[in-house]
């Protein structure tokens, strides 16, 4: 079999407006088969709008979309057979058990191996016999994940997949995503937090105000990852000793507490700190906005204009 030269998802010049409000103003994307692709952006940047166009829930104004070799508008039904989708919000108001909802959705797909449903439910510790209406947010999310993965689709489109999952289940989810990738299948997942995708994604695009502002190889991004580090020492320290270190930026000291930003490996900082007595250490990941401003405002010419960051859902 020859390698498929067509990307699994390809969008060019995608635009969408709701009345006077512009949700997407020219989105270009290409996702290769077998990749895990992170689709990052603050809330309201246009992530969900893009995903809904891929699934043919909403119709683009202009631009081209190719999905698994077809057009979602023309070949929607056929394409959706090969797609598993997790919506950003799962409304579940039925009094019937989760198992019944899942078998209904499975029948819409023309049947799904029951064992696959059972094994996914077991992995996520989901009780299929409880009515979906009473489930917690996390448990509803699990039902959503089971229905997205159960038919082993070629392409998974996941809108904020880890929201509501506790850290243990997030790990289980990431393991599942890795297995899907090992099968050569493709995962397209959105998030407003870099941390959710950085461990597993191969590529990431950052969308902001309806436009893709960066396309990154995750290995590069990880190398340049910023962290905000706060350390408290037993004795007062000199800011200068840390500020001169290569990966350290914006070092400031207040009494015995050092606050700074570290780009890439924190090795040098740790070694310098280790010569003193460290009482506490916290390391925080910057949010996407901060990352965006640091990387793309300073580094690469002008940022896109502000078009209101709470644009369309």
């Amino acid at each position: 079999m020859t390698a498929d030269p067509l990307p699994v998802i390809s969008c060019t010049g995608l635009t969408k407006s709701y009345g006077r409000h512009t949700a997407l103003s020219g989105v270009d994307l290409a996702v290769a088969e077998g990749d895990v692709f992170g689709f990052l952006g603050p809330n309201g940047a246009g992530k969900t709008t893009t995903i809904r166009i891929l699934l043919d829930l909403i119709r683009r104004d202009t631009g081209d979309v190719t999905l698994l070799g077809g057009d979602p508008r023309r070949d929607g039904v056929r394409l959706r057979r090969d797609i598993g989708y997790l919506p950003g919000e799962l409304p579940m108001t039925s009094r019937r058990p989760a198992r019944e909802l899942l078998s209904f959705l499975a029948r819409l797909r023309g049947g799904v191996d029951r064992r696959e449903i059972e094994s996914l439910a077991e992995r996520f510790a989901l009780d299929l016999d409880r009515p979906v209406r009473g489930l917690s947010k996390g448990n509803k999310q699990k039902v959503g994940l089971v229905q997205a993965f159960m038919h082993r689709p070629r392409l998974l489109i996941l809108d904020e997949p880890t929201s509501g999952l506790d850290p243990l289940l997030q790990q289980e989810f990431l393991a599942l995503v890795r297995e899907v990738r090992e099968d050569g299948r493709t995962v397209f997942m959105s998030s407003h937090v870099l941390g959710e995708v950085q461990d597993v994604a191969d590529q990431a695009a950052i969308i902001r105000a309806g436009r893709i502002v960066a396309l990154e190889d995750m290995d590069d991004l990880r190398e340049r990852a910023l962290r905000r580090v706060t350390m408290t020492f037993a004795e007062p320290v000199d800011a200068q000793a840390f500020a001169r270190l290569d990966p350290v930026r914006d070092a400031s000291v207040e009494g015995t507490t050092l606050t700074c930003t570290v780009e890439g490996s924190p090795d040098a900082l740790i070694k310098e700190a280790a010569t003193r007595t460290v009482l506490s250490l916290t390391s925080e990941e910057p949010d996407l906005e901060e990352l965006f401003f640091t990387h793309y405002n300073n580094g690469r010419g002008s940022a896109p204009q502000e078009e209101g960051s709470n644009a369309g859902a």
Binding site: R81, Y85, P91, L105
Partner: protein, 265 residues
């Protein structure tokens, strides 16, 4: 067969409501028809009452309260069950598209390999079954009580009247479904269908007293259902065809629009 799943699932999910409405329709039908024997005994007094207000009587369809056909036609079939079934059908038709769309439940179905046509057509079919069940309820109750109440109306004519009543509800339920499918808004679906139901009812009752307003009755499903007096004459094929054609046209137009628009924005 996966083909009927959306239809079957929607009916199953609605079964509490369906059973509730059937009980309500059965109760109203039984209650009012069981007044008939005592009405029959006071028919002279009723006749005098009607004579004093001929216009109101004509508007309300109280043509002849001294016969079982006249009494049932004025009460059960003229007012109570058509309105009850219309309310039920409007609620059902609203939920069929707009309600589930606003809830977000439609999104999950539409992201499966299912066409939009299939969703609307199967929910329209579910609405047809729902209104048919309500119409059948009227018929079953009257058929069962008929001998005891000495109604003396043939079962076929009761069936024709029940069918006509169910079709009134079917028209307004489809209207709610169609407005919901076009706009995606629950409130528009309910309000649009409810306003037209009121206009339709008035159009076939009070508007008849004003010559200038008489045209309104042609917009009213109540007119096509009640004017042929199915309890007396049996079903009228032409008028019944109108009551079937209207929902079919509405559903077709709604489906065409729903297939093209954005869902839930």
């Amino acid at each position: 067969m996966p083909v009927r799943d959306i239809f079957g699932k929607f009916l199953m999910d609605s079964r509490r409501g369906i059973i509730g409405w059937m009980i309500g329709v059965a109760a109203v039908t039984a209650l009012y028809s069981s007044f008939w024997p005592s009405m029959e005994n006071t028919s002279e007094a009723m006749g005098a009452f009607v004579e004093q207000m001929p216009q109101l009587a004509q508007a309300m369809g109280w043509g002849d309260l001294s016969t079982a056909e006249g009494y049932l036609g004025a009460t059960v079939f003229g007012l109570l069950t058509p309105i009850l079934i219309s309310i039920a059908a409007i609620a059902f038709g609203t939920r069929a598209v707009a309600g589930e769309e606003e809830e977000g439940a439609l999104e999950l179905i539409l992201t499966h390999p299912v066409s939009r046509y299939r969703v609307v057509v199967q929910r329209f079919a579910a609405l047809a079954v729902f209104t048919a069940l309500l119409g059948a309820t009227i018929w079953v109750v009257l058929a069962a009580l008929g001998p005891a109440l000495d109604l003396g109306i043939p079962l076929a004519k009761l069936a024709a009247a029940a069918l006509a009543t169910a079709l009134i509800g079917f028209c307004y339920g489809t209207l709610a479904l169609a407005v919901g499918a076009v706009t995606g808004r629950r409130t528009h679906a309910i309000a649009g269908a409810a306003v037209l139901a009121v206009v339709g009812y008035l159009g076939n009752t009070f508007a008849l007293q004003q010559e200038q307003l008489e045209w309104m009755r042609f917009l009213s499903p109540f007119y096509y259902a009640l004017d042929p007096e199915p309890l007396v004459n049996g079903g009228d094929p032409g008028y019944t065809a109108v009551l079937v054609a209207v929902p079919l046209v509405l559903a077709a137009a709604a489906t065409a629009r729903f297939a093209r628009r954005d869902v839930l924005v």
